[in-house]
Subunit: 627 residues, 2 copies
């Protein structure tokens, strides 16, 4: 960055690496916030997925906007990786997809120094990487001397540009080349010391007495690179000018994308409350009702699924698959690179990492959507986190949430995962209770320009509450669902457990003579952003009345808002949806007496008796067991 003239990257900044300077732009790993950095790297293998996403973005834009003789998008994606990135599963998933999609605009430059932290890479890896990459659909080029044979590297890069497949350049290198520690694993992370740094300088013909001095001929060389870059930019501007004259409409659209803007007035596609069916509706179905017209019409959306098209309802009308056109005849597939529907296969982690690349490509050009069962966002968690850390907007459609997913059993029933996503900085985990709240979830997600959102949805049908539910309420994280002027208890209902909550309120009144308010609480993060006044108006913590959260997840996190919870204290169970809820005591007839007893206790002993004594009201009911 310094050599090619990025202004912020001064010599002083270079010196700030690993220093105590708060304003360093030379952090331990590259960070997207800093000029010239495409994606934040560090966690191994993520970058492979990101690169696949960046290359897909280019492929898609080229297929959509290029015209014969006028290419407005034609860049390569170059990705430099080390030995570890292709040991990580996410890297392997991503290269498999790049080979499948024949992304010939992607080139991986593999720094094969055969050294990892534990010493020789052989200690854990003796596979034939070239054959593996070939089997996965890659063009493989060997460079056997990565130190002195610069010509071979240049030749390989040129060859990559004209490949019909993605290219893998396997360059043999020596870690710490020129140092006495050459080939030693310690050079990965430990400083070499002044003496050995001098050795390296000598090996490369530099003056070992000088420090952080860049010879003028190096600057001169890179000045040429910078000039060349400026020329390329000028050429591109000319291309755009010609394109604008010949294809004014496409050019206008392309310009919007370059500016990172939405291509259509998206709000008009969001259904109104009265448009939704009033009968029981699974919220994954509601998400289709809201999301599908958006995805069909607003071309920024790139919609993907980890092999759950029939379950996640993200396939929109007239969808075109993102595929290599060559596969049409070879595999009888539809689709081409203009397609915006992405079959990621059963590769949740790569889906997340690739979506980060798509979202990072000139931020705003695309708004990626991913989809799978909520439980399997635990596979994608490292990538979802990197999206949040980088401020990359995207929407994760997470269906089959809570124990209500039923028969697939405890392996498929998330209990602890919401705690991760609710705690994660810069992420919205939204769990809507009906179609209206699903609309609110999409609106909040699309308005969060630098934040990814997980919309957490039910497999099973849910009662609709048009008389109570509110998209504006979702935007505030929580809101009063059913008010009671004189109340004994506040019940917090969430997502697919709202139905049980409302029924419990009714039963409390009918059989226990107690009045319960109901609060809908789809998103803790959005609620935290509200004023103290608003928060207190929703929860009324000063009323002296207890607050009980009802959700079929671990209670962790609800202690901030409630005195007690009816929640999950063990893993789930393989039973049909309604029976699973019954098994774990979410029936109103089981919950109401427990809540009533709590109310009586508070009446007797005062609300302060609950201080420091958060109540998990859900015992094991004499059945089941705690793991």
């Amino acid at each position: 960055m310094h050599l090619v003239g990025v202004k912020s990257m001064t010599v002083e900044q270079l010196k700030s690496y690993h220093s105590t300077r708060y304003d360093s732009i030379c952090p331990g790993h590259p960070e997207i916030e800093n000029e010239g950095v495409e994606v934040t790297t560090g966690p191994l293998g993520q970058g492979v997925g990101n690169a696949v996403g960046l290359a897909m973005a280019t492929k898609h834009l080229a297929a959509t906007y290029n015209k014969p003789g006028i290419e407005v998008v034609n860049n390569m994606t170059w990705c430099m990786i080390g030995d570890a990135c292709l040991q990580e599963g996410v890297g392997l998933e991503a290269v498999s997809l790049a080979g499948h999609w024949k992304l010939n605009n992607l080139c991986i430059i593999y720094d094969n120094n055969s050294i990892t932290c534990d010493g020789t890479a052989d200690v854990a890896n003796t596979e034939d990487i070239n054959e593996k990459m070939k089997a996965t659909g890659w063009n493989v080029i060997d460079v056997f001397d990565g130190h002195s044979n610069i010509g071979a590297i240049v030749q390989a890069l040129m060859t990559a540009r004209s490949s019909d497949k993605p290219t893998f350049i396997n360059i043999r290198t020596v870690i710490g080349f020129g140092s006495l520690m050459a080939g030693n694993a310690k050079t990965h992370g430990a400083a070499l010391g002044a003496e050995d740094v001098a050795n390296i300088k000598k090996a490369f013909g530099l003056n070992p007495e000088e420090h952080l001095v860049i010879p003028p001929e190096v600057y001169d060389f890179f000045r040429e690179v910078a000039d060349h870059g400026e020329q390329l930019e000028a050429d591109w501007n000319s291309t755009i000018k010609a394109y604008t004259e010949t294809y004014p409409e496409l050019a206008a659209e392309f310009k919007l994308r370059v500016e990172g803007k939405m291509l259509d007035e998206w709000t008009k596609y969001i259904p109104k409350k009265e448009d939704f069916p009033t009968g029981p509706t699974a919220s994954r179905k509601s998400a289709g009702l809201v999301g599908n017209p958006l995805c069909e019409n607003v071309k920024n959306f790139l919609i993907g699924t980890a092999d759950l098209t029939p379950s996640c309802n993200v396939a929109y009308n007239k969808k075109v698959d993102f595929q290599s056109p060559e596969l049409r005849t070879a595999c009888n597939l539809n689709g081409d690179y203009t397609g915006r529907y992405i079959h990621y296969g059963i590769r949740e982690h790569a889906m997340g990492a690739i979506a980060n690349g798509l979202a990072a490509f000139n931020k705003g050009t695309f708004l990626p959507i991913t989809s799978t069962f909520f439980m399997f966002y635990i596979y994608a968690a490292p990538a979802v986190r990197m999206g949040a850390l980088q401020g990359l907007q995207q929407i994760h459609i997470a269906t089959h949430d809570s124990i209500g997913t039923g028969e697939d059993g405890p392996t498929h029933q998330p209990i602890a995962l919401p705690a991760l996503y609710r705690a994660m900085p810069n992420l919205l985990y939204i769990r809507p209770c009906d179609s209206e709240e699903v609309a609110g979830a999409f609106i909040s997600a699309i308005n969060a320009k630098e934040t990814p959102t997980i919309i957490s949805l039910s497999r099973q049908n849910l009662t609709q509450y048009p008389q109570y539910s509110s998209r504006d309420g979702v935007a505030r994280g929580a809101y009063v669902f059913i008010e009671e002027p004189e109340f004994d208890v506040t019940l917090i209902g969430v997502g697919s457990e709202m139905g049980f909550t409302v029924q419990t309120k009714e039963l409390l009144e009918k059989e226990h003579g107690l009045k319960a308010r109901v609060v809908s609480f789809p998103c803790q993060r959005l609620f935290e952003q509200q004023s103290k006044e608003y928060k207190q108006s929703v929860l009324k913590p000063k009323s002296g009345k207890p607050i009980v959260a009802i959700e079929a997840y671990a209670a962790n996190g609800w202690e901030r808002y409630a005195d007690a919870s009816i929640s999950m204290r063990r893993f789930g169970k393989s039973l049909p949806s309604a029976t699973t809820y019954e098994y774990f005591g979410f029936q109103p007839k089981i919950m109401a007496p427990k809540i009533s007893a709590l109310v009586e206790e508070v009446k007797r002993e005062g609300i302060e008796s609950l201080r420091g004594d958060f109540r998990d009201l859900n015992g094991y009911l004499g059945i089941g067991f705690e793991h």
Copy 2:
């Protein structure tokens, strides 16, 4: 299970699949709790890792106990998988390791029906799986007709037994074979209906009018299988008898393993408090002091690392690597199958899944240890969860926790991850503050026979508190670290933030005239298991004095125990360890005034003023930003 005579698996039980019966042992996916099930499956790809672990267990026991002419362990591990398992990264990581280790006692039977939920597998996968497996070190056998050519399948299984590598049998099948829906993706999950089930019965020469009837000749055939199994068991008992006569000591040890017992009195290897250095010590180093003698001497431990031997300090004295002896000459590696130190490479997820297989192999025979940076247990999270769900004891050594890991930056600094593991059922997340508490963490982990434990450790040096810290306190989750008879506030200190907590206590007294108690809180789950009386004696919530938790993670979860926290509300930052803490306001001189102000407010307005108003005392300090 029914056909080979497993008594619990009655016809009634077979009918209970997808039913509402609480006592069904035919859940949606196989579950380890049920007789005859080796591991719980469901989440795709995990089983490949589990199978590699099971095969390693056998290899290791065989190398350790078999003698010329007497093989007490020589079983194969057979693993049946579908198309998806080798799309998942965890599956790919695991097969790479199996090939490296030349686990010729492992055979994967690949049900290649080329159909996934989205239709033809080609939609997302067109690689050459056979070539890929060969490049990864596997023997590949094709079976082109998996329906009628039973002989070819049998032949392949026989060939697998005599391979010098793991074997991959690629069997082409048709999903829903015999049904009108044959080859259709819908047969994966949807019921076929009575009419089409009749078609299948006809196709196989069964009476379509009969339901759940098993012909006598089928029972007869499987009775032979059962008899053969009984004969094999009798033979094995004879072998053990002969072995016991010739090698009485080894046989006694082997018998202990079969019983799932520890091979040595482990408690004697745990250092006493006075054995630890009193100077500043990184808790990852303390973990080496506690764990290394245990691992050296107690041979149940199988110790692994995801390429972080130099950082995680799990390499014990005289360690022998688990490696194929063939690699000694081929790659100049030490080690053989008797080795108990496992280099997993940079494959955290497979490490977790393989460790589950090791732990599931005749529960108790092994106690697997895994290790990597705590942040990268987010890669392993799906496997760690499966360990907890299956009740598989293991110890995950998670070093470089909290923002104190420093220069590697926000990508390496966990903020939200503890919330996941604290919420996860049947998992202990223990964060010790010094060497004595590290000893306590190991003791609790080893005593938790059906529960995995994460021990969360610092990269940086920590002040030792032998005058306050207590291994017995760790066993109770939290305990009084420094008591004050007359106090104004209780401070909760955790792990590497304990030093700041104790300093803040001192500063509160010196500069604000306030008395603070200090509670050490290494494990929320263990604390939850204590009596209400004990819990209240530690936190004194009824004292009317505020409680403040100090931890450099998201506050989520501390609301159960505290009124306020000094915690992290955004991702971290790349700075040296001490500077990172400074940047985020963990200096005592920044924290003490905030706590003092809270105490004053409570004195003024009463403790009830904090109800429903949990305080994140850590603002952004005018620097940094919230993502």
